[in-house]
Structures are given as structure tokens and as C-alpha cells.
């Protein structure tokens, strides 16, 4: 497999799926490597907990690989199908344990990759900004949080968000509008433009 795993083409994905169905383990691995980082980010953005995000990502992949025969490329993209599976599992999890808990250890123990030249003050400011963002996400309703993570974390269109969330496009649009407005109020103390400035350092 000489293709780039970060941006696989449709042909590549189709080929991997066909090989996986024939029992090729390397094709399974190629699919995993292409979609695992995104899927984990999605689960983490929704659940805001490292362990839960790992468990759900793993479950989603196992389900997808075991039911690969059921995937219909004419209905949706593989990414959308995979995200739908992950979202369903996230919903099952936070139905069992609500409200979602913020993993403080992950915030302090697993910070974003910092540039070598970063000063301690800038590092703390960046961590503080991330903490504020996660707190704001945590205060959103699960449905709104899902919409925000899919839109801003993964750049999905309204139609794709509706597909993944299994709702009409108008509902996806209104959820995004509500979430956007709620985040405007929640992130107001952080200052307009502060997060971008800190995180793009």
C-alpha cells in the first residue's frame, strides 16, 4: 500500500475493503491506520474522557470489521458509516453514565504537542485555553456537542452531519446554530480570538 493513509482516495478505500473481505489482515490495518485518528478524536470530543474514547473507538472498529459485508458504498462513504457506528456507541455510553465526566488527568497529563521554543507561560496559557474549550463542550447537550465536533473537528457538511447523526438536515442545522450560539456565550470570558491565537502558536 503506497497510498497516503492520511487522505485515502475512494478507490483506495474500496480496494482495502475488498481485500479485507477476502481476509487480508494488512488491508484491515490500512483501514484502521487511515481512520483511527479521526475516529478517536470524534469519540474523545464527544465523551471528553481518554479511556471511554479508546473503548468506544475499539468497539466501533471491531463492529465495523465484523460487519464489513453490510457496508453499502452507494448509500454513504465509509467514513460516514464508521462515524455513525461510533456515535451510536458514544450515545449508549453516555446514556449509562450521565453527566459526562471531564478527564482532568488527560488535560494535565496529555497536553497538546508543544513547539520546542514555547515558554512555560505560553504552555500554561495554551493548556488553560484547551481546558476552557473542553469545559464549554462539556456544558453543551450531547446532541449539540456531537454536531459541533462533527462540524469543527472533522469539517463535515450539514448533509453529512445529518447522515451521521441520523436526523434530517434541518435538525442538524438547528443543532449547530444552537451550539454555535451557546459556545459564543460560554467562550466569551476567554476573549474573542484568544483560543485561535493560543492554539495556533
Amino acid at each position: 500500500m503506497t497510498t497516503d493513509h492520511d487522505n485515502p482516495t475512494h478507490e483506495c478505500i474500496s480496494e482495502w475493503i475488498a481485500s479485507s473481505l477476502r481476509g487480508d489482515q494488512s488491508a484491515y490495518q490500512a483501514l484502521y491506520e487511515a481512520f483511527a485518528p479521526g475516529l478517536y478524536r470524534l469519540c474523545y470530543g464527544i465523551l471528553l474522557n481518554v479511556d471511554d474514547a479508546e473503548d468506544v473507538s475499539q468497539e466501533a472498529f471491531v463492529y465495523a470489521f465484523k460487519n464489513l459485508k453490510r457496508y453499502d458504498p452507494s448509500k454513504s462513504a465509509f467514513k460516514t458509516w464508521l462515524y455513525t457506528i461510533a456515535i451510536c456507541r458514544c450515545r449508549n455510553l453516555y446514556r449509562r453514565q450521565r453527566p459526562p465526566l471531564l478527564d482532568i488527568a488527560s488535560i494535565w497529563g496529555n497536553p497538546l504537542a508543544a513547539p520546542h521554543s514555547e515558554t512555560p507561560e505560553a504552555m500554561y496559557a495554551r493548556q488553560d485555553a484547551r481546558q476552557q474549550l473542553e469545559h464549554a463542550l462539556c456544558r453543551l447537550k450531547p446532541a449539540l456537542r456531537e454536531a459541533v465536533v462533527l462540524r469543527y473537528g472533522h469539517g463535515l457538511t450539514y448533509r453529512e452531519i445529518a447522515e451521521v447523526m441520523e436526523c434530517p438536515p434541518k435538525t442538524a442545522e438547528s443543532r449547530l446554530r444552537l451550539a454555535h450560539d451557546a459556545l459564543r456565550i460560554l467562550l466569551e470570558p476567554a476573549g474573542i480570538g484568544l483560543l485561535e491565537e493560543l492554539l495556533s502558536y
Partner: protein, 168 residues
């Protein structure tokens, strides 16, 4: 219908995300040019949108070790054989269950029929009780005699006070 601030604010997020049709987009644009309040809100929302678009993709980036650990778990689960019941065992089980039910069900019906029979009267038993010395017999003119066995009588020295228990 007149296009108000409420209409505009409902469409601002979709306007920022460029998800509106050209006609609706033009309508929002015209309103933003005319309304200072809506324009201020639009700027705020646009800045939040830019912040989120820049920061959210960085939240929850997995490490290499994390991904490798997850892959090991997935491989172990995929390669594990599925726990399915063999078809011949399932058929055997169903056949056994039917055989047991065919034996048990008629016996159950017979028992229910036996329970449904009326109970025979037992006059000899009641007469024996009424003849007993420690039994108080209550008999009415119409009803058959019914016997009550009193509580065990206490010895004279065990009884606390005979007058206290005596009924008027």
C-alpha cells in the same frame, strides 16, 4: 413577508458556514448591511467559528502508542472465533424440548382436572373435635359445627393473674 432580525439570526450560523442557497445568502447579506446589531452578532459568531475551527481538530489527538494498543485489542477481537451454536445441536435441543413438552403437558392437564373436582364433606372430623374436652364448639342452627382449638392453657402457677384475664 418582511425579513426581520429574528429571521437573520436564525440563519447566521449557516451563513458563516456557507450552507445557504444564493438567494437566502443575499437576503442575509442585505440585512447585515442595514442592521448594526445583527452585524455585531455576526462578527462575534464568526470569531467563535474561527476559534473552534482552529482549536477543535487539535483536541483529542491520539498518540502512536495509544493507537498501537487499540489495534492490538481490535486484532485480538477480530481473530477470536465467533461463539455460535452449531446447527445440529440447536436442532437436537429443540427436538428434546418438544419431546419433554409432549410428555409434560397432558400430565399437567390431568392434574388440573383432578383439582377442579369438589371436595367431599368431612363430618366425622368436626364431630371428633367438638367431643374433645379442650375445644369450644360453636354451632348455629343452619351452619355445620365448626371447631376452634384454643391457645394452650397455662398452668396455675404460670398464669400471672386469673382475674385479669377473666372476661366480664
Amino acid at each position: 413577508m418582511r425579513y426581520t432580525c429574528r429571521h437573520c439570526r436564525a440563519e447566521l450560523t449557516a451563513y458563516i458556514h456557507k450552507q445557504l442557497s444564493p438567494r437566502r445568502r443575499q437576503r442575509v447579506g442585505h440585512h447585515l448591511n442595514a442592521c448594526a446589531d445583527c452585524y455585531a452578532l455576526y462578527r462575534q459568531l464568526r470569531d467563535v467559528d474561527r476559534d473552534l475551527a482552529a482549536s477543535l481538530p487539535l483536541v483529542g489527538q491520539p498518540g502512536r502508542q495509544q493507537l498501537a494498543g487499540m489495534w492490538q485489542g481490535i486484532q485480538a477481537q477480530i481473530s477470536a472465533p465467533r461463539r455460535t451454536i452449531p446447527v445440529f445441536r440447536l436442532r437436537y435441543g429443540v427436538a428434546m424440548m418438544l419431546a419433554v413438552m409432549s410428555l409434560v403437558l397432558p400430565w399437567t392437564f390431568n392434574r388440573q382436572a383432578a383439582y377442579a373436582l369438589p371436595l367431599p364433606p368431612t363430618p366425622a372430623h368436626t364431630s371428633r373435635i367438638t367431643n374433645a374436652p379442650d375445644v369450644i364448639a360453636i354451632a348455629t342452627a343452619d351452619a355445620p359445627t365448626v371447631g376452634f382449638v384454643p391457645t394452650p392453657t397455662l398452668e396455675a402457677n404460670d398464669a400471672p393473674d386469673a382475674s385479669a384475664t377473666e372476661t366480664p
